[in-house]
């Protein structure tokens, strides 16, 4: 009771205070919780870090931005040209951009920055760039050692946010930890590793990309990004007003959140696939008919409806639908067909006896089904197990932690596995199916001369993006024809926010929750 009186008094005081102070001063502070996959970042140094979170995208701007439909948009680079042989790229830079320390952004900033990647784990992003030439104050030319059709994709990555060269050099290992300098709409105010990151508005900001309506400084004055590892706690924080916006809400949580009157939910198209790789070296999966039958047994639509309440989309091939390389010959897409699955197993000699499990030469059709711990995969794996039982395949589930399961793959102890990836570029095909990476990431253990040839063509011989799309599509189609995996689900990225306090643009522009969205967000109370 005393508490109620106290909170009423407090609320009254706040109202009076709000009357005196301008609304913009008291209310433009927002608290955001990082998604689970962005926890534990130890630095905001985009060049050397291997884990950058959403806050990094607000401190640094990129030359180029990518939208949810995977199209590229100008940002610090206003336009660009690629030479016909793919051996050079010219970027025209935006005028009037300044870093947080007041120094100007120009062609020299880019020329100083690219060589910083040498000998870092992010060096692969610019591995094809032989040198950077300053043409004039606002024009820069990348001279390539080989064509790099992924250059624009790489430039739109958070890791290619442009740091201020002077601060980068003078701060050394402390850059991104005790301070950071970029051109972004927010400045790093404080960073407590594992706890929170506080950003304050860059009042001079006037160079947003066309993905934002607001082209000036952000409406929000201060953002506190918090690390809240437990989803239940994060939900209670949202409910009680301790946190205004949650990133990366697990899809099964959405129903609970939608029931709250002050909570709104936005679903962004995801950038990954959940799938089941098949180890082609392990009997009975060395028989392509058994592999195909396994794929036909999985009912993607039923999984989306039952586990994910219809949120997200079924996956029928290896790439997210917004990539052009996902648009393959429809006959190659993998879809549920129970009768054909049973027929293929009969043809392969796996016959249904009296029991529920098929057998061949007295050997039952019993296989290992691995997955990693975490709610995300365990319930999905159980449904997959049940669907495999419908074709007479007994799948025995084992759950591992994420590091141990990779060891199992490398030692070739697996048969089927339920897993996922998050990557919106078709070179993911090379990552998971190249014969050079058997075990892990090539969990399918697939080595094939024609496959490697198509891989090499796609990875190395494409000179421009159209050629690259055609080459990767051919590779993708060949991979599909070999039945190396079963596509299952395309998750969405979910955002939940306190609708009494915030307005958030819907749909969210871009492949992730980044500066273009934050610029258009505002406090409404």
């Amino acid at each position: 009771m005393r508490n109620t009186i106290k909170s009423r008094l407090l609320a009254g005081t706040t109202l009076i205070a709000a009357g005196f102070l301008s609304n913009a001063v008291v209310a433009q502070e927002v608290t955001i919780a990082f998604p689970a996959d962005e926890l534990g970042a130890t630095s905001y140094n985009p060049v050397t870090s291997n884990n950058l979170n959403s806050a990094a995208s607000l401190i640094y701007d990129r030359l180029i931005e990518q939208d949810a439909d995977q199209s590229y948009h100008p940002h610090l680079a206003t336009s660009w040209e690629e030479s016909t042989d793919g051996m050079s790229w010219t970027f025209h830079l935006k005028d009037g951009v300044t870093f947080h320390d007041g120094s100007p952004f120009n062609a020299q900033s880019v020329a100083d920055w690219i060589p910083d990647f040498a000998d870092t784990e992010n060096a692969y992003l610019v591995a094809a760039v032989a040198s950077v030439e300053v043409i004039d104050n606002l024009t820069v030319k990348f001279v390539m050692s080989r064509p790099e059709p992924s250059l624009l994709y790489n430039l739109a990555s958070t890791f290619m946010g442009v740091p201020g060269a002077a601060a980068f050099d003078s701060m050394g290992d402390d850059f991104g930890v005790s301070g950071a300098v970029g051109t972004g709409p927010f400045k790093l105010d404080s960073f407590a590793i594992g706890l929170e990151t506080v950003l304050v508005r860059n009042d001079d900001y006037a160079w947003a990309s066309d993905l934002s309506e607001n082209q000036g400084a952000a409406h929000i004055g201060k953002i506190t990004f918090r690390e809240v590892p437990d989803q239940s706690t994060a939900f209670l924080e949202l409910k009680t007003g301790g946190i205004d916006l949650l990133l990366g809400v697990p899809t099964p949580f959405l129903e609970i959140l939608k029931a709250e009157s002050n909570v709104a939910v936005i679903q962004m198209p995801g950038t990954g696939i959940n799938y089941m790789p098949i180890n082609v070296t392990s009997a009975p999966f060395d028989d392509i008919k058994v592999r195909e039958a396994t794929g036909l047994a999985i009912n993607q639509e039923a999984i989306v409806a039952s586990i994910y309440n219809g949120v997200g989309a079924p996956a029928h091939n290896f790439l997210i639908s917004s990539l052009p390389e996902a648009d393959v010959d429809p006959a190659l897409n993998v879809s549920f067909d129970l009768d054909r699955a049973k027929m293929l197993l009969d043809e392969a000699g796996w016959m249904m006896g009296d029991g529920a499990v098929r057998s061949k030469d007295g050997v039952p059709l019993s296989v290992k089904l691995f997955t990693q711990n975490g709610e995300e995969f365990t319930s999905l794996t159980q449904v997959v197990q049940a669907q495999l039982a419908d074709i007479g395949m007994e799948a025995v589930i084992t759950v591992f932690d994420s590091s141990t399961i990779r060891d199992e793959y490398k030692n070739n102890r697996h048969q089927l596995a339920v897993r996922g990836y998050d990557w919106n570029n078709s070179d993911i095909l090379d990552w998971f199916f190249s014969g050079k990476r058997l075990g892990y990431p090539n969990v399918s253990m697939w080595e094939d001369a024609e496959g490697q040839r198509l891989n090499d063509v796609a990875m190395e011989d494409s000179t421009n993006s159209d050629e690259r799309i055609a080459n990767f599509k051919a590779y993708h189609e060949y991979v599909l024809s070999q039945h190396l995996f079963v596509p299952i689900y395309q998750p969405t990225k979910n955002i939940a926010y306190n609708s009494d306090r915030l307005s958030v643009p819907d749909p969210v522009r871009g492949t992730r929750f980044r500066s273009q969205t934050v610029l258009d967000m505002a406090v409404v109370e």
Binding site: D230, T233, D401
Partner: protein, 309 residues
């Protein structure tokens, strides 16, 4: 006499620490999986992977890797985290204050409240107090931490809104985690105190003191407590090491940084130098705690100094 005892006990820590460092190193390196897979991203080549393995010396025999690590430790260098990309000493230094604050407050709370409750429970003759105490002790020893944490949040943070739901800013964010961790500690300390007091009370000298007509209060504080505190100090000393790393679930639920959380994250990513550094710290804390406990006991009980000399 006591100083000599402390000196020899401290000297013993050196061989023990070295043996523990070998065990820690082996456990960490024999876990399946390796840190490089948590470091590389899509797009990097197989050559990049090999370069990283060489860079961190993971291709070397385990013995070589061990001596490199322990040699650097003797020079005060805990090494560089592989996945977390910061000096291990920095990571520990950043997380240690949170652990100390939470663990220290929980330790103080469980010691004071536990001894008080245990004493009340042992000395009160009321059956109702007895039943309540025993119920509390049973609950405190058995309720799982994460469940209690969520209950605490629901009641004190969501319903009453007295404290923040989570975080590590200011004293108010410390209350619920301390209560959560302390709850089990209070029950444990109360139980040990109660049993010890009841045991001592049955001794002949206590009957004599009563016969001499000393007031009960004097008997309790002057004569019973010093005897009964011996097992309590042992229990408390063992919990000193646990202060630093024992709060993983509570850190997770309340969104607090800390050594426990750092360790769990590092184990998940097989970040060898971080796991080794954290485990070594925790082992040292446990050993120091035991040493402090032994010394305190020796100071309190001359018989221990004599027999262990």
């Amino acid at each position: 006499m006591l100083l000599r005892y402390i000196f020899f006990r401290a000297l013993m820590l050196i061989p023990v620490s070295i043996s523990i460092s070998v065990v820690i190193f082996l456990i960490v390196h024999l876990l399946p999986g390796d840190p490089i897979d948590n470091l590389i991203r899509v797009g990097s080549s197989t050559e990049d992977r090999k370069t990283l393995v060489l860079k961190y010396g993971l291709d070397q025999p385990l013995a070589v890797q061990y001596f490199r690590w322990i040699g650097a430790i003797f020079q005060g260098d805990f090494g560089e985290a592989i996945v977390l990309r910061r000096p291990v000493a920095d990571l520990i230094a950043q997380n240690l204050p949170y652990s100390l604050r939470l663990g220290g407050a929980a330790f103080a709370f469980s010691s004071i409240a536990g001894i008080t409750l245990g004493t009340i429970s042992a000395t009160t003759r009321s059956a109702i107090v007895e039943i309540i105490m025993r119920g509390f002790i049973l609950l405190g020893s058995t309720v799982p931490g994460f469940w209690l944490a969520l209950l605490m949040i629901l009641f004190f943070a969501v319903q009453l809104q007295w404290f923040p739901v989570s975080g590590a800013k200011g004293w108010s964010s410390l209350v619920l985690p301390v209560l959560t961790i302390g709850f089990g500690g209070v029950a444990l300390v109360a139980r040990v105190t109660r049993v010890a007091l009841l045991d001592v009370r049955r001794e002949d000298f206590v009957t004599l003191l009563h016969a001499k007509g000393l007031p009960s209060r004097t008997i309790l504080f002057r004569h019973l407590m010093p005897h009964a505190m011996l097992p309590v100090v042992t229990i408390l000393a063992l919990r000193i090491g646990w202060i630093l790393g024992g709060a993983v679930t509570v850190e997770f639920v309340f969104g607090r940084p800390g050594l426990g959380s750092l360790l769990i994250r590092a184990i998940g990513q097989r970040d060898y130098p971080v796991v080794q550094g954290c485990l070594l710290m925790l082992a040292l804390a446990v050993m120091l705690g035991t040493l402090i406990g032994d010394v305190a006991q020796a100071a309190m009980d001359p018989r221990i100094r004599e027999t262990k000399k």
